[in-house]
Each structure stands twice: as structure tokens, then as C-alpha cells.
Symmetry: C2
Subunit: 306 residues, 2 copies
């Protein structure tokens, strides 16, 4: 796990570009491009990276080659690579590949869980208990991401108490960190403040992380609110790639470079180097043949060169 993970007064960014950023892109990156992307992100100062997903590559071809990616990345002190696993088979692959951390996504709504993960939320929570126990035994930190925490494309509004209950159970099962994720980008700041309070109460021993999509242009305001509420860990994706499969024309994750700009210019250290992140966004855009949805690489830093 990263040593510099939470600095005083700072915000730790979990860079999810190689996983959430890529998994909905039409074009699947080659293993060597994924390794190069991760190398550039580490060089830009990012210290926790959601690098791979151990889902079935026949279902999500963009995530194929997870073992090869993990074998290809340089292991450095203070840099933590996170692997996503949704079941025991994925976990076994993740542990064999030597990830530094395991993350498990548990949707808060059955409509999404059944379609995305082929089981109900209750079944997924049972699966999490088993995964968490195996992680504890293996000595690998495990975190949970509560997806569709702010709304579900199938079930509509998500009852916040359900999010809190999943957080409580996951923490009790061994999750050291609990994330609330606005998977489809419908959340607004007031919801962030409400959910942060509820999850903190439900899982007081866990580190709280937030994951926002900018699908409706609320993502950065949500991130700001999370930080104002004392959240110190935020997910973001270099270039803002990561479209939502349920809103194909819309942008995806909040972008790392735009988040770093807002936070650093506002006085919160992130450890990331803005120019390097921005250039990595441009490089990734060129590999994907797309303009980054995040804006800093186009608009430029301010003051210029800063």
C-alpha cells in the first residue's frame, strides 16, 4: 500500500483510468499501451492506481490481459496497484497476479447488480464476505466500492440507507476502505454531503473514498463537496475517459488533470504533477483516437506554465 496515501490537508487521488477509464471505450488498448499508461501515471506522481480488472475477458474484452499488465508494470515503493474482482475466481487471479490491493464493486441496487454482475445485492454481499476473508488471510488489503449509490438506471433513486447498510457490512467483513460511487453520474452535492455522513456513521472505522462521474456536469462540484466534508480520497480518471454505458453520448469519470487543477489551485496538495497528468491525458487520447473529455489539456494551465 502507498506510504504517502493521505497527507495532511491533502487529497489522495486513486487513478482509475486504466480500469474504469478504459472499460467502456470502444477501442481496447493493447497490453503494452496499458503498461505504458500506468508508467506515465506513476511518473506523474499518482500513487494508487486501479490498474486491472479480473472480470471475464469474454464479457469485457477491454479488460483482457490483466495478468500480463500486472507482470509488465514496474513495482516501486509507495506505489499501489489495485485490481478489481467481483467473485472468487477473479480474486484468485488477482492474488496470483500480485496486486497490492483488491477492490470489489457492490451495487446498491438490484436492477444494476443483476444486469452487471448476474446476482442480487444480497448475493453480492455474501460473495464479498468470502472475498474479504480470503484477502485478510492473504494479507492483501480489500476495499469495497458501493456502485449506483446515487441512483440507478433501472431502479431510479437509491435509498441512502441501503448504501449505508452495505458500507456497514463491508467494513465489518474487513474492508479497510469504503467508496461511494456515482456510477451513472446523477448525483448532486447535497446527496454527497448526506451520503458521506451516513456512511461515516455506518462504517466509522473505514477510510471513506468517493467516486464521481461527470455525466451531468456535477462531478467536480460533488468532489469539492466531498473534500469539504472531510473526504481525503477521490477516484478520478486521466483525461476523464470512462463513458457510462447507460448514457453513451455523455462523458465519464471526473478527469484527473481537471481535479488536480481545482484542488491544487485551491490549496489542497495531491502529489500529482499537473503538466505530466495533462500530457498523459493527451497521449491516452491519441491512443484511443478521442479528445479527452477533461478540459485542462485543451485549455491549458493557469497561470500559463503553472
Amino acid at each position: 500500500m502507498a506510504e504517502r496515501e493521505v497527507r495532511g490537508g491533502g487529497v489522495q487521488i486513486v487513478e482509475v483510468g486504466p480500469r474504469d477509464g478504459l472499460q467502456n471505450e470502444e477501442k481496447a488498448l493493447a497490453v503494452e499501451d496499458k503498461v505504458e499508461l500506468i508508467r506515465r501515471l506513476v511518473a506523474a506522481g499518482l500513487r494508487r492506481i486501479e490498474a486491472v480488472s479480473f472480470v471475464n475477458p469474454r464479457r469485457v474484452p477491454q479488460m483482457a490481459g490483466a495478468e500480463e499488465v500486472m507482470a509488465g508494470v514496474e513495482r516501486l515503493p509507495g506505489v499501489s496497484y489495485i485490481g478489481l474482482a467481483l467473485n472468487r475466481r477473479g480474486l484468485d487471479r488477482a492474488l496470483a497476479a500480485g496486486v497490492d490491493e483488491v477492490n470489489v464493486a457492490v451495487p446498491a441496487t438490484d436492477g444494476f447488480c443483476v444486469r452487471n454482475q448476474g446476482c442480487t445485492v444480497a448475493e453480492m454481499m455474501d460473495a464479498f464476505d468470502g472475498i474479504a476473508a480470503a484477502c485478510l488471510e492473504a494479507g492483501t488489503p480489500v476495499s469495497v466500492t458501493v456502485s449506483t449509490a446515487f441512483g440507478c438506471p433501472f431502479d431510479g433513486e437509491t435509498p441512502p440507507e441501503r448504501v449505508a447498510e452495505i458500507a456497514r457490512r463491508a467494513a465489518a467483513a474487513g474492508a479497510w476502505e469504503v467508496a461511494i460511487a456515482d456510477t451513472i453520474g446523477v448525483g448532486v452535492p447535497r446527496q454527497v454531503a448526506d451520503l458521506v455522513g451516513r456512511v461515516r456513521e455506518a462504517a466509522p472505522g473505514a477510510v471513506l473514498r468517493c467516486h464521481f462521474h461527470n455525466t451531468r456536469n456535477t462531478g467536480y462540484a460533488n468532489a469539492l463537496t466531498a473534500v469539504e466534508q472531510g473526504v481525503t480520497v477521490l477516484d478520478s480518471s486521466v483525461g476523464g475517459f470512462g463513458g457510462c454505458p447507460f448514457a453513451p453520448a455523455a462523458t465519464g469519470n471526473i478527469g484527473t488533470e481537471d481535479l488536480v487543477y481545482m484542488l491544487e489551485r485551491g490549496g489542497s496538495a495531491t502529489g500529482a504533477e499537473l503538466g505530466e497528468v495533462s500530457r498523459t491525458a493527451e497521449w491516452l487520447g491519441s491512443r484511443l483516437g478521442k479528445t479527452p473529455p477533461a478540459q485542462l489539456s485543451r485549455a491549458g494551465a493557469f497561470p500559463a506554465g503553472g
Copy 2:
């Protein structure tokens, strides 16, 4: 002036699409399209609309036909049309055209003022004194927008005390409302909180309005911070049109539909009808041949149909 201008707990939106939204677009809209745009905005519930600019149409061809636009729009109780004027000649045109309110932009930095308005800030403030006196005599409310308040493409960082001083002088000269504008979209929430405090202290009798661009994805977070600081009037542009001439590839004003989504879902009434605003953004996009930078018309409301 609009009767419903500031409701309890609500936020009043000044729709700047017909002016700031259009003035940097490559394609100039015909007068009848501008009139139709304004008709649709009023039908969507917007009550203060920056409708026209009385600048030299040879310098800004997109703003040609201001008199014809004012002659073409329907005058309705509670609906206020704002005309921008930068000098005495523009003011005379604005008053003759029968605008409900006059707005004057006063840059906070000489670099921008000289290039954009052909005079220094000190000269522009002197001009404002004359414009304000004439407005008071004519019985037409006059407001000031302090542009480049968060940063200048030529002079770099803007000293906040300069913004406060312009606000103080403008209020003393008769401005009933003072806006701080992030013309080039470099501001961050911490700056918003700082500037709001300073301007409020400098011009305690004036209504405070904020104007944000989303050039670096900080616009909505800035709007949120302004509202949290008690600001009750925000500028936005339907569709988020209004690119900055100094960052050609970047998006412009914060978009009205995305702002309405964030505010209304967060419990702040705006009086605007989200679906109608969103459809107006699509309509304007079709007239300009561009996809709106704001995202709601692509991503859809949440819950669906809401």
C-alpha cells in the same frame, strides 16, 4: 425588472445565452433566430435574460441587430431583458431600444481592458460613472460585471483587492448589482469564497451576482460555492455555449440546464423548467450546427422524465 427575481431559498438565473453564449460562436444567428431563442428561454421559465449587446457590430458581428432583436421580443410582466453597453454610444442605443436593464462590463485588469475595450481600467471606471448617471436619470437599472476577476490571459493573476475596489466604486456610482466574472474560466472554489467575501464588504448595498465559465471544469463547483456563500444570482448560458476567445478549443459559460439540474436536485428552486431548457439547448445546437457543451440534453434528466 423581474418581480420574481430572488425567491426565498432559491437561486435566480440570469440567462446569458443570447449574448455571451453567442458572441464567440463562428456562426452569427439571424435576428429571427435570436428572437426565437429568447422566446423559448422565457417559455422555459427564465426571467432575466441578457438579450443583446450594443457594441460595434463591425467589431462583433455576432451581436449585430440588437435593436431588431429588442423590437422583436415579446414584453411580458416579470421578464427583464438586459442589454450590454460599454460606452455612452452603446448606452444611448440600449436606452432607445428599450432594454429593461443595462449591464456594463468593467475588466479588473488593464491587459484585458485595453485589448477588449480599448481603454485602461481607470478610463473604463470613469466611463461607468457617466453611464450609471445616465441610467439613473433614465430610470433604468444598471449593473456592473467585473470581468477577468479571477485571472487574466494577459496579466496573469488578478489581485482580489482590485476587484473589490471596482465593485465599491461601481456601487457608489449607482450599480444596484455587482457581478464577479471568471471570463477565461480559471477560477476555483476557494477564490470564489474569497472574492465573494471581499466584494460583499466593499459593496454591501449591492446584490451580488456570479458569472462562471467551465473552461477547466471548475464552473459548476464555483457556482455551488457561490450559492453556499449566499449568492442568489448566477449567470449561465443555455447549452453551455460561449467559448472563450483565449481558449478556442475549450467550452464556455456554465450551461443553464446543467446548473438547473444541480440546483433543483439539490433543493434550490430556480423557476426554470429543466426539460424546456434542455430542449432549447438542443434547438440552439441545431441552429449553430454544434453539440451543446452542457451535458443534460445528451445524458438525460434523472430520474428519467424528471
